[in-house]
């Protein structure tokens, strides 16, 4: 009895409050997205998505209850079992999944559909935490780096078979956690440089300018640092590689499937194909951009209500918010997300076990990735990638998976006193 009191008192209500707020705002927005003035139905009407979402929210609450009353040791002990089960599901999905839009990403049980790739995220997070808990695990060593990458790459490879690029990309978020856990910094510098150079290479018409810029930056770094021969040689080599990369990128992009090429190029010029690939981004930006400072008012958004934005209740749910609540609404939601993420980092840092901390950072990583990419995509900062906005987007699989992901960590956090492990 004393123990129960203890853990109830340790539950982080701040995170739960933010979670509940985001789910509620999301639910109201789903209603707005499907709202039809001429056939006005109640938000509770089960024939429309807001009614269905209410069922998902209700069952999510059930899941939360189960997680909170379950034995906290269960998650660590069964982490590899969960991982095994979902890898197995991912393995059979390409064969038994229901084909939708050329993808086999869904399992269908009667009228009920589940997306294993969503649930594999928390399983992978648990598995990573379990592996990294070992005292010897050190991410500065190549051996352990490869182990961690292997745990991530197994579900990624299976998801690519469906193929669902968006969901697969999400797994790269684990590198955020690995950054915290001691992955050498140079990988991240390299990766960010690569992304920057890629964007510039694709965005700037004439590669020559970029080549000159790279040469100038390399020269500057050489001149500013200490001038040892080996440093000069290695930096020059990096410069040459970067220039080679710039020129090869164009070739690589031209080898991508046309729809992916278009998604990338539309980022730089949405008017390239305003009725085709550019349609989503253009309409999404119009919807959000027309919201103004205060928005058009709840249920008054014309763009979302009249279906100008595709996928507006799932991946483009942010449009409804942007249009009807304007910059103010966007501000509130973005601040809530940032607050939740920072709060979760704070929670992760106070864990006594490495398992809990790694898992906590996995939660932060995945939520951050979804939040950042999803909103960036709706406002044309990132190519269109089909991933949902956590807690907001319509759909049982995504709401459940994010709920499970988050609440396992809240459960672990509430037991942080009991969980004593080796910290490093």
């Amino acid at each position: 009895m004393r123990q129960d009191d203890l853990y109830i008192n340790k539950i982080d209500w701040i995170s739960i409050l933010i979670y509940a707020t985001l789910v509620c705002i999301g639910w109201f927005n789903i209603y707005a997205a499907v709202y039809d003035e001429q056939a006005a139905k109640s938000i509770f009407d089960f024939s429309i998505n807001s009614g269905k979402q209410l069922v998902w929210i209700g069952t999510a609450v059930l899941l939360i209850t189960i997680i909170m009353v379950a034995d906290y040791r269960l998650f660590e002990n069964l982490s590899l079992v969960f991982y095994g089960i979902f890898v197995f599901f991912l393995l059979i999905t390409p064969f038994f999944g229901k084909e939708i839009n050329g993808q086999r990403a869904w399992f269908e049980l009667g009228s009920f559909r589940l997306q294993p790739a969503e649930f594999a995220k928390f399983a992978t997070a648990l598995a990573l935490a379990k592996f990294m808990e070992r005292p010897s695990f050190d991410l500065s060593q190549t051996k352990y780096q490869l182990q961690a990458v292997a745990i991530i790459m197994i579900p990624v490879a299976l998801i690519m078979l469906q193929p669902d690029t968006g969901s697969a990309m999400v797994y790269s978020a684990f590198f955020i956690m690995m950054y915290r856990e001691g992955m050498p910094q140079r990988y991240y510098v390299l990766a960010l440089t690569l992304i920057a150079v890629s964007l510039l290479a694709l965005g700037i018409e004439n590669n020559l300018y970029l080549v000159i810029a790279i040469a100038a930056v390399v020269l500057l770094i050489i001149l500013l640092g200490k001038k040892s021969i080996s440093r000069i040689i290695s930096l020059s080599l990096i410069g040459v590689l970067a220039i080679g990369y710039v020129y090869s990128l164009e070739y690589v992009v031209s080898k991508l499937p046309q729809h992916q090429q278009n998604r990338i190029m539309v980022l730089f010029d949405p008017d390239l194909d305003p009725l085709g690939v550019g349609w989503n981004v253009t309409q999404s930006k119009i919807a959000i951009g027309s919201g103004g400072f205060l928005g058009k008012g709840y249920l008054e958004g014309t763009q979302t209500k009249f279906d100008f934005v595709p996928e507006q209740h799932t991946d483009f749910i942010f449009c409804t918010l942007g249009e009807e609540f304007g910059w103010t609404g966007s501000f509130v939601v973005i601040i809530l997300f940032c607050a939740l993420l920072i709060r979760l980092i704070f929670l992760a840092e106070r864990q006594k076990t490495r398992f809990s901390r790694v898992y906590g950072y996995c939660v932060v990583s995945i939520l951050l990735f979804h939040f950042m990419i999803n909103i960036a995509m709706t406002i044309g900062l990132f190519p269109v990638v089909g991933i949902p906005l956590p807690f907001f987007s319509y759909g049982g699989s995504s709401l459940w998976s994010f709920t499970i992901l988050l609440f396992i960590f809240i459960k672990l956090d509430s037991h942080r006193i009991q969980l004593l492990g080796r910290m490093n």
């Binding site: 001429q38 955020i176 915290r180 119009i286 951009g289 014309t302 009249f306 100008f308």
Partner: protein
Amino acid sequence: MNDKRPIVLIIAIALIGIILLTKLFLIQVADDSFLKRAERNAVQRLVDHPYRGLVYDRTGKILVYNNPLFDLMIIPKEFSVQDTARFCEIFNISKEHLIEGYTAARKYSSVKPSPLIKQISTTEFAKIQDFLIDYPGLFVTTRSVRSYPQPVAASALGYIGEISARQLERDTVKYYRQGDFVGLAGLEGFYEKELRGVKGVKYKMVNVKGVDKGSFKNGEYDTASVAGHNLTSTIDLDLQQYGEKLMGGKVGSVVAIEPKTGEILAMISAPTYDPNILTGSQFGANYMNLNRDESKPLFNRPIMATYPPGSIFKIVQSLIGLQMGVLTPNTTYACNRSLVACHNHPSPVNLFGAIRNSCNPYYHQAYRAMINREVSSNTFKDTQIGLDQWRDKVLAFGLGGPLGLDMNNEKGGSIPTSNYYDRVYGQGRWRYSTIYSLSIGQGEMMVTPLQMANLAAIFANKGYYYTPHLIKAIDGDPTGINPEYRTKREVGVDAHHFDLIQEAMAEAIYGTAARAAISDIRIAGKTGTAQNPHGEDHSVFIAFAPKDDPKIAIAVYVENAGWGGRAAASTASLMIEKYIRGEITRPALEEYVLAGKFM
């Protein structure tokens, strides 16, 4: 070990939040172009076309109205029909028509309406109206076409048609849009602004497929259309109709004016056409046919055809001569046929006799006296001065330039200036002998039938006229019309000089135009012949009646009908009787005119 890294991550999260919020600020607050694009997306501007004004005749009978036509529209997605045969029977279409229409509509859009049956008349609509409710996905849109209960006055009323690119360009206030209908000719063209009304706008919302989603902001920005003004014409429908009947099978013009007001009672251009054919979907094809027709039915002869005035001009000469003092009732000249040809009549004649007999040599001599006033010892110079002074007096009679009636494209005819002769013959190289044909209304002068009718009105009024016009009231308000049409215009000849002229014209009826005489209505008239170098001369007659209280002044032109006393005088006489008495008592004369074919 990595104490800095959580901080780096927190900073990164904050940075991401700031980047997203900045970008959102840029597109939501700093840039209003998205708002406009959103409205272009979802808000459709629909023009509510106003009801075009009606046109009534002077007695209140309707000349032009709007006839509603119905288009049966189909929304393929909502449409369903069980018994196709019954459907086709009700809507009176073939099964093929239904299938074709449905397929075409489906091809265009399954959710947007397309026309299934076009231009259903009111009577046909009444038959199908009750069945519409049985078939979902069908509805009716109304539009209206101009319609004419009596197929008359086509050239006066004009027609409407789609606005041309050039008209759109000139429309600097941007009232019109591509595809709008505007008055293109006749009253429709001249009174376009009055007739068109004010367009309304409705903003309605549509979804991505173009499906109607109700009004925008509850119609806050919608404006209702305002119907056009109704015009009351000066035309007398019965007289117009009768005149067109008389002119059947002939080429020419009839213009009848109420002298006291300048109101045009009838304006007939022959050959004419049924104005109903230049409406609706057949406009294009019918217009082409009319345009190609060699008898030029679209040519509005009363105001566009010009002819030499001929003998009728002698009355103007007489009046100018009297006013100048060059002529008196007792001025006598011999009928000297060596000057200019004439016909057999007693000679010499005084002014009265000259009008009565239409004596050419009389006017040759009288005109010389008017022109050569011996203000200059140089006969060339003297003629030049005389001509220009004389011309000014002629212009006061409404000749030599458009009168300015309320129709576009009115021709003004011409009265030559001294400059004209200078150009043709060289300065100082022409004199009276060069221009003497002007004395008898021949040579380098041209007038329109409208100007001739106006002359008749001037003679009737003893020296003044009101600019002839076709519209007397706008929305029943006579002050609504241009004040120019209510301004009395003096011709500069004293009223008492007209007494002799009127007497002579009344007498002339019994001489040159005996057919025109009506037993109990005194007609004053003058025959004329417009020379036609291409064939038989044109028959011309002007008149007013009753002589002592003129109610109607008229000019009749019948092309290729020979001397004025025949076709033209008979027609004028019948018109006068029709207008004053309301019925025809001389069926034989009517028969004679109707039988005349001078094409």
